[in-house]
Symmetry: C2
Subunit: 228 residues, 2 copies
Amino acid sequence: VLQMCDVRRDYGNGPAQVVALDGVSIEIAPGELVAVMGPSGSGKSTLLNLAGGLDEATSGQIVVAGVDLAGLDQRGLATLRRRQVGIVFQELNLLPTLTAVENVMLPLELDGSSSRAARAVAEQSLVEVGLDRKFDRYPDDLSGGEQQRVAIARALTGDRPLLLADEPTGALDTVTGEKIIELIADRTNRGNVSALVVTHEPRVASFADRVIWLRDGQVVDDVTATTA
Amino acid sequence: VLQMCDVRRDYGNGPAQVVALDGVSIEIAPGELVAVMGPSGSGKSTLLNLAGGLDEATSGQIVVAGVDLAGLDQRGLATLRRRQVGIVFQELNLLPTLTAVENVMLPLELDGSSSRAARAVAEQSLVEVGLDRKFDRYPDDLSGGEQQRVAIARALTGDRPLLLADEPTGALDTVTGEKIIELIADRTNRGNVSALVVTHEPRVASFADRVIWLRDGQVVDDVTATTA
Ligand SMILES: Nc1ncnc2c1ncn2[C@@H]1O[C@H](COP(=O)(O)OP(=O)(O)OP(=O)(O)O)[C@@H](O)[C@H]1O
Ligand SMILES: Nc1ncnc2c1ncn2[C@@H]1O[C@H](COP(=O)(O)OP(=O)(O)OP(=O)(O)O)[C@@H](O)[C@H]1O
Ligand SMILES: [Mg+2]
Ligand SMILES: [Mg+2]
């Protein structure tokens, strides 16, 4: 579902150059839930942005759902993302002029669903993240954790094979956060969704099949959980 | 330093009314570090926004550093905040057109410091949160956790007696997050700073003198830590 081969991402040139990712190779199989951990600034968001085609690697190859990202233009990347990749951003990126349910429906409608079908699916996703009475609220009128859950509902909608989540429980209390990671694990266990989840919380990582550790832009450990 | 007496905050009217805070009373003494915990949507950010005068209570009294907020206009509130309250917002609120050090210096300059004095203090704060080589970066070119640390440095600058922090370690790995709460605890231990810290992380709460639990807009527990 995701293959990254010797991927580098630099910013700038010369003495001020920052190496955000320094030769990273990762493979994720169908149905795998992989957690990414590491210090602040170690390259986790950069890794996710590259995997989602939101950023371009300086060098190295990235293949998502069988498609080499290097061969796609901006429009091709947007279409691939909409159909194959659900993303929960660290900064959420909800549209402030759309209600919660409209935000969740949007990718489905853009892909050709009727509004009625999209709304039904979107409402179901919002119920699953515990926002059953907040469909018609605008992001500004929601708490930080409620906004994060709308972003999660949006990413989980539409049966896309790859889910990328950047600190999806960062704004959530422990109990709600656990429900969210259980929801994600439930989807991956059914075998058709894979997830790459950046987190700094050990309880969230405990649900993963593998934990990848980053430090200074490099993979320093790739631990497979021994499930009981 | 902070007294809130039977504070309510409602949104809207009639059947759609949301009661974000439902009669909350809290007192914080000089040098106290108080953690606020509770489920997503329980009113934690609302509590902090009211304490910082960023929002107006529907009813009840709020006194900050001896001043009743009800007697202040917008300008008076802004001045009180700038001089007496350091705030770390859940959405950070850094100015994108200013560098890291300029963001941290701003409150000091607005209060009359010379640029040179303000810059020296700001650089020191950034060093304390581990951002010693990123003074001149713009927020857009920083990782999520780095942006959060700039916001923390800004809130800790200027010897203000009340620090309000909304999930200040939400975007930080466990090690960096611990350094940040130790920094805050260090300030409160010297006796002249009090802190009200919203968090969902037990390790962060473990540094507090008291933990206040919110649920559905009400205080349901106020636990004093028995320090060894
Ligand atoms: N502008 C608004 N209009 C209507 N309801 C609001 C508004 N802002 C917040 N609320 C509601 O008030 C309640 C408390 O919100 P608040 O942001 O204080 O929660 P919180 O404890 O900080 O949550 P989180 O942990 O998710 O950040 C929530 O139910 C939220 O939906
Ligand atoms: N636009 C940019 N220009 C220059 N450097 C950048 C830019 N974006 C990120 N960086 C740097 O690249 C490195 C990796 O950033 P990244 O956002 O991937 O870290 P992260 O692991 O997600 O951190 P966090 O846990 O704090 O969110 C950091 O050192 C950061 O300062
Ligand atoms: Mg990040
Ligand atoms: Mg909040």
